[in-house]
Symmetry: C2
Amino acid sequence: MSLKQIGEFGFIRRIQADCLVRPEGVVKAIGDDAAVFRPEPDRLGLVTADLLVERVHFLRDRISGEELGHKSLAVNLSDIAAMGGTAREAIVSLAIPEDCPLAYLDGFYEGMKKLAGKYRVNILGGDTTGSKADLTINVTVIGSVPEAQLLLRSGARIGDIVCATGQLGDSRAGLQLLIDGVDTGEEPWSMLRRAHVRPQPHLDEGRMLAAAGGVTAAIDVSDGLSSDIGHIAEESGVGVRLLAEKIPVSDALKTFCTRFDRGDPAVWALTGGEDYCLLCTISPDAADKVCTAFAEAFGRPLHRIGEVVAPGIFEVVGRDGRAIPLEKTGWNHFTQSD
Amino acid sequence: MSLKQIGEFGFIRRIQADCLVRPEGVVKAIGDDAAVFRPEPDRLGLVTADLLVERVHFLRDRISGEELGHKSLAVNLSDIAAMGGTAREAIVSLAIPEDCPLAYLDGFYEGMKKLAGKYRVNILGGDTTGSKADLTINVTVIGSVPEAQLLLRSGARIGDIVCATGQLGDSRAGLQLLIDGVDTGEEPWSMLRRAHVRPQPHLDEGRMLAAAGGVTAAIDVSDGLSSDIGHIAEESGVGVRLLAEKIPVSDALKTFCTRFDRGDPAVWALTGGEDYCLLCTISPDAADKVCTAFAEAFGRPLHRIGEVVAPGIFEVVGRDGRAIPLEKTGWNHFTQSD
């Protein structure tokens, strides 16, 4: 059975099951001109969107439908996480080329629904249509956050501690393995591949940090550590000094760099991108408390990777004590190519 | 200057001006991980999305950037209109191929911002990325509606009057002129082309109908009158009988059908699609009052085109009194081609 045979409305009926995982607050889900929901009282609304385009963001023969569905939602949940928010509703638009098998799309929705269910996010609507060339996905996520806990990029102050909620660089190394056609069936390569195709949004981590008090700014790592911490610096009007030896990198990334002669893992961590963990800045008097609470909550450390300094300074200090200027440029989909 | 030269962040800075036309209620617009807004108290939230794909929904050499920007937002505002709602925030995602000139994109945002300004809709965020082939646009619109005024597809009852807020079939005729390469520089062809590339969302009409009382169901005409009134019939569990002679068609469409030997204008009106006016059903005791109020508010009639009947009946009665079964199939982007 093909998409052409079942048609747009047949496809919508097919995917509709299990889209509504949190019916309370939903007045009308898929099936009318617009979805209708009841905003939560006394909370701010959040909204974010990400577009994933075949041959720009993914190669269909290197990522399963299930992984692509997971990732398409995960990158949006990560944005909500970076605001300290809770994700509520997802709106999913798909432009589907004729050669895309129905099984791939079934997998796509399976992966997306599994992640949506985990975080109690409804798939509340969207649009499905044909495409003459590339499979293209847009996901919009609506979330909410108590006003006092909203995390922006603009709140960092000189003296704050810069922290990361996870390891960096694995996703970019995983992408490299996919590009190079390396068999990723075994560890440690499968772990790197997984970091790229099945990123875990740090929603629980973002909520914990937002509620902890003392966290002054946050962002998720999509373009790369260097670029994304640059956004905090720019929006906050401050500088940043990172410590190379403190940047958390996995053993898998170290093995990758050694085995394939790929240089310093810290460079992959700084410029890689698509890690989808969070970076945050914490006021110095709250840092110990927040780090301890984080470790207790998640059983792993909140990594202190640097400090907020005076504007004009934007550097990483190497193991030899030498400061190297950081580049604010991260991944740019218009100027770089796979 | 090209998109490649200015990059993603340069492009975002370029389009950012005048995106915020209703700053009250917005906590953070473009520039953070997610946009932040303050939901209106005592209203339901509405959300809808539409994907427009080059070579499926439009041909880039037949529609200007300004028209495409207008239309991409208009089709979403039309969905909000069909719920009786007010549009509030738009989230705009663009996948841009390398050969798309910056001037085309500037026009796109100009057209979109002009329409957004008219209805006080903020462009609050989105995503911009590259594309290897087609220009692809996803717009998500968030709106709101007082709960008592929400219009669904599912409220029609036997005996209700079926009405349309505008003329039907012009848009499809305009598309045909574009496909056939007819010079649309002069009337009446330019009027038909305009109906296709610059549809006017019936937001004011939708609000008026929602507030009037007695309107039991509504939908906007995107797939075509026959298909869309079919959705109301299906969701409401009723039948529909339309009267062909009551279906409002323009003189331009009549001229088009005569000049190009294109048959009965009523067929274009029934199966055309993309009209983006509204269909609604009104309880019989309220119909006179609502129609009078509509005509007074907008200076044109609310067209009575049929009635809601028992389930199982789904037909149009021709000028000769013969009933012809209606087809529920409208435009299907998977099975039909331009």
